[in-house]
Subunit: 337 residues, 4 copies
């Protein structure tokens, strides 16, 4: 932590800050510049959390030097984490594709989808049973009945399954059926939900919030991990900007940034990032090429009839073609699929 004093800060103001630092058993290092004085603070800064040093006289600003997340931080865990989900693993040599409909609608829909995506090579079936929708008048999901259909599909195909959870109630229900819990973008800072998901010990797929910085995202992962659950997989799904030719702006740089700052696996969801079916294939290739550990891609037996997010869903044929096209890129990155 660095404390920057205002130009012309009084000796007494500087001494007051030094006293607070030293009386909390921290070391202070003073740099007296011609224009400004800065004070470096060395030691465990959490003891200063209730001191609000920026409010003291002649203090201009406080600059944090270390990240607030520890468990998710690569500095303290340099080796990449591998998260086991059903029979597959994310973050290692295997490239993992999750696919399925935005919303679970019927037994036929789920079962057909599971078989089709399995045939194309996908390892995980996704399907929403609790749907966070912008309008209360949109379809809200089949809830526990949807989870049961997902479980049937898993028994039939051997695919692992991942479902979004939006409440403690949903976590409790989902824990009985799924291999991985998904925390959606709108709940990325629903800290209560993060803690409850952490407590289950199940792998957690943590989507980035629409306007979350990477630092906040890693702090959200920290909430899950601080409950003793290291099984977090991050999912970049686009951030909100002024650009409107795509639904969101896929922040592809998040992949190398996460690889530098954290040991957690990261996958990319081009379907939600763009909202446009035609952009899914090129962005999937981009995600692979810059080092993502997997993809989440929406598919539907009949996108024109999907109850949610149809316009961005691929047909089974399109998905199969895409998997075929992606294989050489995956090989080039030395991953298996």
């Amino acid at each position: 932590m660095i404390i920057v004093m205002k130009p012309g800060a009084k000796e007494s103001s500087i001494r007051q800050i030094l006293n607070i630092i030293q009386s909390n058993q921290l070391e202070a290092h003073l740099s007296n510049g011609k224009e400004v004085t800065i004070i470096g603070v060395v030691g465990d800064k959490t003891v200063l959390c209730d001191k609000n040093l920026e409010l003291f006289e002649d203090v201009e600003k406080i600059v944090e030097v270390t990240e607030s997340y520890k468990l998710a931080n690569k500095k303290f865990h340099p080796l990449p984490s591998i998260v086991k989900v059903g029979n597959t693993s994310i973050g290692g040599e295997e490239f993992v594709i999750m696919s399925g409909p935005c919303a679970v609608e019927s037994e036929d829909q789920v079962m057909e989808t599971a078989k089709a995506i399995k045939a194309s090579g996908a390892q995980i079936l996704r399907g929403g049973a609790y749907k966070p929708r912008t309008s209360p008048y949109s379809f809200q999901g089949l809830e526990e009945d949807g989870l049961k259909l997902m479980k049937e599909a898993r028994e039939e195909t051997g695919l692992a399954i991942v479902c979004e959870v939006t409440s403690l109630e949903a976590i409790e229900a989902a824990s009985k059926y799924v291999d991985m819990l998904q925390i959606g973008a709108r709940n990325m800072q629903n800290f209560y939900l993060l803690k409850e998901a952490g407590k289950t010990g199940l792998p957690v797929l943590l989507k980035r919030g629409l306007s979350a910085t990477i630092e906040e995202w890693l702090n959200a992962a920290e909430y899950v991990m601080a409950e003793g659950n290291p099984n977090v997989v991050l999912c970049e799904r686009g951030i909100r900007t002024f650009e409107n030719s795509t639904r969101n702006t896929l922040d592809i740089s998040a992949v190398p940034v996460i690889k530098e700052k954290s040991h957690l696996p990261i996958i990319v969801d081009p379907s939600h990032a763009t909202g446009v079916r035609g952009y899914v294939a090129p962005l999937s290739k981009a995600a692979i090429a810059c080092g993502a550990d997997g993809l989440m891609i929406e598919t539907h037996p009949n996108p024109t009839k999907a109850l949610s997010d149809g316009p961005q869903s691929l047909t089974f044929k399109q998905f199969d073609d895409l998997c075929y096209e992606l294989r050489p890129f995956i090989q080039l990155m030395n991953k298996r699929f």
Copy 2:
């Protein structure tokens, strides 16, 4: 709803769309342009929600013409709503100031604050008992014990009280103690929480999400109202942009925009919007001058020792001076304080 066809759309594609519209008992109005053909759809479009018309051949895009929120929409409720909270009312002639600490810390802190802000004219005491914090290692709130302290302060001073809720558990606890529930920015699209808050029938203070559009914000209000609870007050508290001299960017235009699109009251929180104490006074005046129904301002007996958000909190003296300075602006807007 307007369907814009691609240039050179085939007759058969156009006929297919017309068939779908008409077979759903809607009217279609065709405009054949030299460059493009557009189809206006008249009637209750909710029957088309699972049709995904943008996926049909030769369709370029769908343009929505009507808003998806109804209960919050001024078009259907032209008169402004007035929401009663304790002995005060928001949205009418009274200008309402809510104040208090970001986090409830102790009995002394809450009681002192309640008395001080009451003396300055504030009508509602705010104080967080459940704190959503970016890092799991920051202070998380006193929970139900905090609510009890708030209730004591209310009994002592007669002020109404508002507390943030972050889970069903918190809603259940808060319902026993508070006059108004607050849904924070990070939970604005926690639809589960919105519904549960709606069910209590208590007034709900709904903060705008960090990257929520005004349309999404009104749809979030719709979630509460659709549970039969019309008592929603909106709170603009800054949105996320690239500008970093303030913590967020106060979207002051949200005040007149909401007044045009909705009948719900709107207040402004300059403390969270800027994160800087020195900007609270000028932005409070701006909020009044452009028609806000109230303000939420952070105060603390000793900001330098606040466990949360100290840098943006006012001392009681500063708050008292501010209320004094605000009065003539409030009068000019023909409101009482």
Copy 3:
């Protein structure tokens, strides 16, 4: 300047940095933390501008502590600047309203407007002769003929006049006719244009770029001032965000932020910020209440026929009513109008 070293930085890496600093006649202050080492640099850092210290081994990041703008910086010029334009002055006790059409179209239009706004109390006539338009097929302005019409209006009414310039050619022409040059948002970082405007010595109205930070804006002002021209007035006109119910998002906080960081006057343009006529009045009041030195408001004899930006223009009657409504707010801020 503070240099933050990576955790576990080697002694030799630290020594290398210290050598560079000291061999450039600067002082280095070392703080050895358990986790990180930081080095404070004291002295004139411009000598390091070609050293790129962030590329050296074990360097994590460089944190700048002082602002790069000097002439526009309040730290070195604590008293507010007052900029004289024609017979009026901006930044002092007078509250200045600039008004007129987005684009100069005809003699009648300009003359009628000048007389009308003068009658309402405005001190400066604005009117665009060189129009930067998104599409090359939109009306591009009357150029020098437009400037002549503006000058006629000035001779007739005594109003000062301000016109946007978009090229050296336009600056040369405008210098013959106008009292103040305007640099538009799209040219805020057209540094060549800023320097040329600076050289004229004429007052410069510098609009904030659509995605410019306040720091960049003050650096743009610095370009003008570095040419020996201290007569810069800043104009906040909205920044680009995801919100789309207004054309841009008026960053009202820019007013108090500029007042804290700079001595330059700042005015607000609610017409361009929102693009909606109905929001001009409430935002004008907000701007006054938070301390702006003036306003720029679009008016047109017949907005439905304006060649540019009609939807945000006020009629003369609307403008006159607005000026009447604004007076008590201006008085409350102890300014004259």
Copy 4:
């Protein structure tokens, strides 16, 4: 163009709009809904540009259906354009890499760089002679002397050269020396400069503005093309968002979006997009994989001594390794390098 009327619009208001449309020889198609009435307008809408229909009574909003850019629009020019620059071509089967220093500093620097990048396979040398810098106190470029050094390097190596221009003066000088003019992000809406660049007939590399939408970017290209110069290459270089772990946010989706909306070639600049050397390689691969026609990558003989943008520059060894790594990705996309 579609005109959406307010709910309950009066018959007379609707008739007024219909009259205006018809008296301008356009066709009007009326759709009377229960909630709203919409009017489709068919014909050449430019005749309405001075009508400002949104200001008429009972008009709610105007929805544009067709794009304002024509020459850059794929709808009217379905085949991809190929732009010849020196001996290379952008937009066809060849994958083009431009490389070199942010700023031209000396003969040795430019010549060394030219030879090194040529040896690695790059086809175009970049180097800035006119530098738009945020602060007036940063290095501003060698101007015409820099252009001469670039030309020498071209004569020595046969590489084509591209230089940024920031004024008419710079365009006039550059036209004597370079193969391609670059319009930088900060000047993307400097329409005067765009027109002047268009008039030269030279290929123009048009960088996307920091907060420009794709629609505005294509309209900027239209300015160049409307001067009779079809040789425009677009360059995505990151947009401004709230994320701060990278300097800007590379909008990788812009590549497939441009490929859908326009026939112009598009390249990607990962150096400026991220500002971090370590992210250049993964993002280069991503750009290739999603269909970009080329890359612009900063290199410098000694990045630690670069006068501009050192931290994002690669050494020659790093650049050579990168080109080697990129080849298989380029092959997979069926391009040559």
